[in-house]
């Protein structure tokens, strides 16, 4: 079975999302936070006006070793342009096609992602900003919010899908049918009905989608960090997701100076080349050593000359940092009171080929003393004669695991046969100590989970059959659901959409939702060419509204760097479930013609026999039969009797009286049987 499961993150920008879950209860802290927010906004706006408004382009690359011997590479490019009313419509850096797209269809916000492979939430993490924003469902996912009157939103969406389809060489135009997209009300984003969401789970992603994506960068893949994108290297990875996120406030009344911003990210998970056997130290396998050259087969020859900043970061996650400390304590003398980032170039555990220009530590406001560390490398100082090739070599084996999402979400089908089945979404707590579930979920509080699921119309879900199981026991549905919105599917018009906020008690181990469905029948024209492969149900989006996936860094200067801004953006923890594959009954596609042929043949037979009966002369036929019987036998029978006589060697007998005829009939019968047997034998012989 073809099964894919990906998770990713949607950005929740509603005002309520700014409230941290700790401040939920009381009113005052919220007011305070707003005050702070407003004041910071004002100061930043003033600063923005003071400096000259201009287009900007930045590039960044974040590398992170993953626990399962792989490496995550996250490219981040951002182009921004001031609003049209100040800056005009002629640009120097911002891609013309995207600007025209935004203006023509009045797009306020849009996200398009092309993904191949499935993000492994258990191994690669489900709690950090990258997994929440760049883990996406397989295939294409597109959502867009328009600044047009409500009745024109669908038209804008259709035109946009066609334009994007042409721009990115993908079949995004299949999202134009009202059966393939939906309008989420509140769970996905809070944009008053002007948002449209659609996915194409089966879209194949390859270089023809990457090349147009690269064309939007001023340096394409000619210079800068994007020069690393060697197609064979990035497509042989375990996960590949290219994303394009667009925000614009050219429209509307808000007189902000944010303008239009285009954020492009490419997230790949690669397996470093470990030549030969794995290196072993004291019985444990070492993590693979890697360098940019070994990962991508290329080096960085300086930055893209029009980019404002061009940095490479290596991130050591929180769990890895504490593990490193442990390992060091064991291996070194007790005088290792020095902080871990004192000697990042070369220490007893690993060695980096270049020493970082700066070390940034995450400020963890909540619990642990250990926090993730970012090593910053500036690409500006490198050039053709001195290319930048960052390498990481492990000296001691280290084992760690990633931060997990509060609950692990998965979705599967139940039931068998081509008639009915059930969809189940299961949420499982990963009972390890390093999940933040324990810390966040206080006594008496409840865990709120937002589920958004779109089901195509031919899977007819009976929403009244919704059942909630908590820790394996059936629970009352109404008690556990805080808010639910359902728009049932309409045949051949719209898909079924379910949005709900699930309230789970603290310390829940497993929770499951089941929904029963009937499989519908499609019209013969509606089947895709490979109908027997089955039909995809797009991924459900599970977001944990009580948890924020964001990191904050100690250095305030870093706020200007978009790649770190992306990490610091406050977003909910989001995971995508697997794509489901539902086999539907597929008809015999030659059926209509067969039916036509059989019906027509039956009609023709009926018609012909009716005509024959009408012109039959019964009396005459009877008379004929009588006269025939009275007459002698026909020439053929006499010939046959002569032949048999000759064979028997007897003289030809005179024609017999009717009394002897039965034996002759028997002879005839035998001859007929022999004839049929001969034909059958011949048939067998020739057509074997």
């Amino acid at each position: 079975m073809f099964k894919c499961c990906l998770h990713s993150q949607l950005q929740f920008r509603s005002e309520t999302s700014l409230e941290s879950d700790h401040l939920m209860g009381s009113r005052e802290p919220i007011v305070l936070i707003f005050l702070i927010l407003i004041s910071t906004y004002e100061s930043s706006a003033k600063g923005g006006i003071a400096e000259e408004l201009n287009e900007e382009f930045t590039e960044g690359l974040l590398l992170r070793p993953l626990p399962d011997r792989k490496v995550l590479a996250h490219f981040h490019f951002q182009s921004s342009v001031p609003p049209t009313r100040i800056y005009g419509r002629h640009h120097h850096l911002f891609p013309k096609s995207i600007y025209q797209l935004v203006n023509k269809f009045r797009v306020r916000e849009m996200e398009l992602s092309f993904t191949q492979g499935r993000w492994n939430y258990e191994r690669w993490g489900g709690y950090d900003p990258i997994s929440s924003s760049s883990a996406k469902p397989p295939g294409v996912e597109l959502w867009a919010d328009f600044d047009v009157p409500l009745d024109q939103v669908d038209d804008s969406w259709r035109n946009l899908t066609h334009a994007l389809s042409g721009l990115f060489c993908a079949s995004i135009n299949f999202l134009e049918h009202s059966t393939s997209y939906s309008a989420p009300q509140w769970s996905f984003h809070s944009f008053a009905g002007k948002l449209r969401y659609g996915t194409l789970p089966r879209e194949a992603v390859c270089t023809e989608n990457l090349t147009p994506w690269l064309k939007l960068l001023p340096c394409r893949d000619k210079a800068g960090l994007s020069a690393l994108m060697d197609r064979p290297s990035i497509y042989k990875g375990y996960y590949h997701s290219q994303r394009l996120h667009l925000t614009s406030d050219d429209f509307g009344t808000a007189k902000s100076n944010a303008g239009t911003m285009l954020e492009q990210t490419l997230t790949v998970v690669l397996q470093p080349n470990t030549l030969g056997a794995r290196a072993m130290v004291s019985g444990k396998t070492l993590q693979p050593s890697w360098s940019l050259n070994s990962l991508f087969g290329r080096k960085v020859h300086g930055k893209c000359s029009v980019s404002k900043s061009s940095n490479v970061y290596v991130q050591f996650e929180q769990n890895l940092v504490s593990e490193l400390k442990e390992v060091r304590k064991k291996s070194e003398a007790p005088e290792s009171g020095i902080l871990i980032h004192d000697d990042f170039g070369n220490n007893t555990i690993f060695e980096m080929s270049a020493s970082p220009d700066r070390v940034v530590k995450e400020v963890e406001n909540l619990q642990k003393e250990d926090s993730s560390i970012l090593l910053e490398f500036l690409v500006e100082d490198y050039n053709d004669s001195k290319p930048f090739d960052l390498g990481l070599r492990w000296k001691l084996p280290v084992v760690w695991s990633c931060q997990q999402a509060p609950l692990h979400a998965s979705r599967f089908l139940m039931g068998s046969g081509n008639e009915r089945g059930a969809i189940a979404i299961s949420l499982k707590s990963l009972s390890s100590n390093n999940t933040p579930t324990v810390g966040c979920c206080e006594k008496g509080s409840q865990l709120r989970i937002n589920i958004f699921q779109v089901v195509p119309w031919y899977v007819k879900v009976y929403y009244h059959t919704l059942k909630v199981f908590i820790d394996g026991e059936l629970q009352s549905t109404m008690e556990n659901i805080e808010k639910i919105h359902i728009s049932p599917s309409e045949d051949k018009v719209s898909p079924g959409v379910m949005e709900m906020i699930l309230r789970l008690p603290c310390g829940v181990i497993t929770a499951a939702l089941t929904l029963e469905f009937d499989k519908g029948f499609l019209h013969i024209d509606e089947y895709p060419p490979d109908a027997n492969q089955g039909f995809d149900i797009p991924s459900a989006v599970v977001s944990f509204t009580d948890f924020q996936a964001s990191a904050s860094f100690e250095d305030n200067l870093l706020n200007k760097l978009p790649i770190l801004n992306e990490l610091q953006e406050r977003k909910h923890v989001i995971s995508y479930t697997e794509v489901l594959l539902v086999p539907l009954t597929t008809p015999d596609f030659s059926m209509p013609y067969n039916v036509i042929t059989i019906t027509c043949t039956v009609f023709a037979l009926y018609f012909g026999s009716l005509l024959n009966v009408l012109r039959r002369r019964v009396g005459e036929e009877e008379r004929r039969l009588k006269s025939k019987a009275a007459k002698k036998k026909g020439p053929l029978t006499s010939l046959l009797s002569k032949l048999s006589a000759k064979l028997k060697g007897r003289p030809v007998e005179p024609p017999e009286t009717p009394s002897t005829s039965p034996s002759l009939i028997n002879n005839k019968l035998v001859l007929k049987v022999i004839l049929v047997a001969g034909i059958a034998a011949g048939w067998q012989y020739y057509f074997r």
Binding site: G88, R89, H90, H91, H92, L93, P95, K96, S97, Q100, L101, N103, K104, A163, L167, K215, P218, C219, R220, K222, A223, G302, S305, V306, Y593, I596, T597, T599, C600, T601, F603, A604, L605, F607, G608, L611, N612, L614, R615, R617, V618, G619, E620, R623
Partner: protein, 598 residues
């Protein structure tokens, strides 16, 4: 049946009766008529069946389409033109106005016949009025000639030698006259001949619809020159043969042009140049767009691209102290792999996009110059590609300094430089439209100066363009409609939607309107309606439902209906045949019996 059995029973009684060959009763017609009824009702049902499986075809006016396309192809549309020659300071007694008019017309006819009547010209459909202004009195040969006597005396032609001022002055004179008379019957082109004492004879074509000749000229000489200016400049647009053909008018089928300006930095490691396109757009391009309004909707967009090397090679030339690319390299100059001069999202499907490219060479090929086939260096350092656009190589001043900087230089192209570059682009745009870009017209009877308009196109040039444009559009419309009609007639099982029928109808109407406007000499309106005609014709041709021909073909129909109709037809026909045969046989028997009885 009854009769036959009866006959057989009676046969024993009658010795003459042979039941094999005779019968006593008349053969019945019951079964024959029954089978025939079935056959006929079957045949009658066929039209109903055909009607039920008929596909919808909107009726198209095939005959009108054919009429239109034959009309357009046989005779290109000819506009009426009105000319006026004013002879100032000439002696009215040597030649009369009529004589001059006749001789000008004779010369013009000679020039016009030399080149076959091109599309959108006047051919022989013109009128010439002549006025002789001899300071004291004026003599004209037409009643609607409105030349204010002694108008030029006020201006004191001889003293002021400024062509621009004279041009404006003449315009004010003619404009006033035109306004007073409210003479809307087309536009009148004027040549003013002023006899002065100067030896040198100069001819200047102004920005509006007039030209003037000054100097010591005589009537014969003047007449020849006037005829040439009328025919070669005002009617044909001063084009030389071998330049871009008029049919390659770079206007999209929907009457839109997108001017896409691109600044290409070949290698941003060396230097990055930027431009202030907003200012250029507002100051330099806006008047041109306004001027071209009757011809096409022009929109402007710009982008700056980086890492865009050219695809051809250049060689260092010591003598010229620069890198040289020759005209042979031009086909390979545009690097379509790296120059992603995107098609515009803003432009609809059939708009024409003209690319204008400023190429900033990298340090290792700077300065880069274009060498002409005669070995000289091109002054514009640019070239055009018809229907694609133009390219200008702009060498930054920094390349002469030859300093390898560590950080790339970020600069703006200075306003003077960008003005120069855009002047070259204007010339290229004029060339793309098939007009001259050097401001000189060299005719058989001497050189004329063409005054350049600050709007890029002078009024008489726009007239030429709109005449050609309407003619070309009409031709295109005729061919497209002809193709539609041929296509529709050749595919009898193609569905034709009502939309297509309507579009064809409106297109024909617009084409007729164009023809009538053209015959009245209203250039703008005919350009507009011809554009409409072409757009509608193309819309009809590219209508998405035209693709439905692939569905419900005849084979499909045959496959669906043959399982029923083939066997049934067989039954019905055989039944009729058998019954007919039997009837003939039986009536023969009856006749035999009848004969015997008698």
């Amino acid at each position: 049946m009854a009769e036959i059995s009866e006959a057989s029973s009676t046969s024993t009684t009658d010795p003459d009766f042979d039941p094999e060959t005779m019968r006593k009763s008349k053969p019945g017609l019951k079964r024959l008529s029954l089978t025939l009824t079935v056959l006929f009702s079957y045949l009658l049902g066929l039209p109903f069946l055909l009607k039920s499986i008929e596909i919808y075809r909107s009726p198209l006016p095939f005959r009108e389409i054919d009429d239109l396309s034959t009309a357009i192809e046989s005779s290109p549309i000819i506009f009426p033109c009105h000319f006026r020659a004013v002879f100032v300071n000439f002696d009215p007694n040597s030649y009369t106005a009529d004589q001059l008019s006749v001789s000008v017309q004779a010369y013009m006819a000679k020039l016009a016949t030399k080149n076959s009547p091109a599309c959108g010209t006047c051919a022989s459909n013109f009128t010439v009025y002549v006025t002789i202004d001899s300071n004291s009195n004026c003599i004209s040969n037409g009643n609607n000639v409105d030349w204010k006597c002694g108008a030029l005396n006020e201006f004191k032609v001889a003293e002021k030698r400024d062509d621009g001022l004279l041009d404006e002055y003449l315009e004010s004179v003619f404009y006033n006259n035109n306004n007073n008379n409210n003479n809307s019957n087309g536009k009148v082109y004027t040549v003013v001949v002023v006899k002065t004492e100067e030896e040198e004879v100069s001819a200047v074509v102004g920005k509006y619809r007039h030209a003037w000749i000054m100097g010591r000229v005589f009537e014969e000489q003047a007449v020849e020159k006037i005829a040439e200016i009328f025919v070669k400049v005002f009617v044909n647009g001063g084009k030389e043969e071998g330049l871009i053909h008029g049919e390659l008018m770079p206007v999209g089928a929907d009457g839109k042009i997108v001017l896409s300006f691109n600044l290409l930095n070949a290698d941003p490691h060396d230097w990055i140049y930027d431009w202030d396109f907003r200012e250029i757009d507002e100051n330099l391009l806006a008047p041109i767009i306004a001027a071209l309004k009757p011809l096409a909707d022009v929109s402007v967009e710009s982008q700056v691209l980086y890492h865009t090397p050219k695809a051809s090679f250049s060689i260092w030339d010591d003598k010229l102290d620069s890198y040289i690319f020759s005209t042979k390299d031009l086909p390979f100059f545009v690097n379509s792999n790296e120059w992603h001069l995107d098609t515009s999202v803003a432009a609809g499907g059939r708009s024409k996009i003209l690319q204008f490219v400023v190429y900033v060479p990298s340090a290792k090929e700077c300065p880069l110059r274009l060498q002409l086939p005669n070995g000289e260096i091109s002054t514009t350092n640019g070239f055009i590609s018809p229907m694609w656009g133009g390219i200008v190589v702009w060498n930054p001043s920094a390349c002469l300094m030859d300093s390898k900087l560590k950080h790339p230089l970020r600069r703006k192209i200075s306003p003077e430089d960008s003005r120069k570059v855009f002047e070259i682009f204007m010339g290229q745009l004029r060339q793309l439209f098939g007009l001259k870009s050097d401001g000189l017209f060299v005719g058989a009877s001497g050189t004329s100066v063409l005054l350049a308009s600050e709007r890029g196109f002078s009024e008489w040039e726009l007239d030429v363009l709109s005449r050609q444009h309407s003619c070309f559009n009409l031709l295109q419309c005729g061919t497209t409609l002809g193709s539609i009609s041929r296509l529709v007639q050749s595919l009898p099982r193609m569905i034709i939607m009502d939309d297509i029928g309507k579009q064809v109808k409106y297109s024909l109407e617009a084409a007729k309107l164009t023809l009538s406007n053209a015959s009245l000499g209203i250039y703008d309106a005919s350009a507009e309606s011809s554009r409409q005609a072409r757009l509608l014709a193309e819309d009809a041709f590219y209508h998405p439902s035209m693709m439905s021909v692939s569905y419900y073909s005849f084979e499909h129909c045959f496959a669906v209906y043959s399982p029923f109709f083939l066997p049934v037809t067989l039954h019905v026909l055989l039944a009729v045949l058998r019954e007919w045969k039997r009837y003939k046989q039986e009536s023969k028997k009856y006749n035999a019996w009848q004969a015997k009885v008698k």
